[in-house]
Symmetry: C2
Subunit: 139 residues, 2 copies
Amino acid sequence: MFQIDPAFVATSHALGELTLCELRLQDDARYPWLVLIPRGVALREIEDLMAMERAQLMDEIVHAGRALRVLGEALGVPVEKLNVGALGNVTPQLHVHVVGRRHDDPAWPGPVWGHSPAEPYTSDELAYAVETARRALGL
Amino acid sequence: MFQIDPAFVATSHALGELTLCELRLQDDARYPWLVLIPRGVALREIEDLMAMERAQLMDEIVHAGRALRVLGEALGVPVEKLNVGALGNVTPQLHVHVVGRRHDDPAWPGPVWGHSPAEPYTSDELAYAVETARRALGL
């Protein structure tokens, strides 16, 4: 049975479901940041998906990137560069990060992963970010 | 006209061409590491590709990952986890890194990007790695 690794629940907030993926908002107010988790059992690598699912994942990555541009504008940190990463060294369940980056963000120009501890949203910010992201994603 | 950013020429070696991408071997003997550069003018983000090109990119990412498993075995560092990343914060031309990771590699479990200076292949190692990668990629 498909289950989301508890590590994702601890660090991000559910936004809803696209055709292939669960969408989550990473709880770090410094970056507009979505996590896509394909619904499937024992998935670890992109190659574990069927060809049609891989094409769907690509579509959902692009969809997430467009939503991040909307979210970044709404949060006052317009996206200058998208970063897309499927790592999974720490949490092996297959997932893809889509992160909106700026030249003035804390990790620039390096990757966000492993850079520094997250700075969680306040509850008001979080409600606004979740609502904005959901609308932009069509969820 | 399509041109590869000189930054790639300085840090990697040409392997050949797939349908969409130029394939290059990153010159860092610590990781089996391929760089895919879609042939197109002024590409910066995955969303700049047409839908069919995006699906092709996904196919070539999976193909590269399989070749990395062969390369890692040949180099004595079998791949335990694939890392896939499209960042472009430093070199904005669209490119995708596919990296073979191990629990005993220098950057584990963090990302390789920005971790530490590359350790280039010796000329003998490089010739062997290029030949092995080309064969595994069907180039």
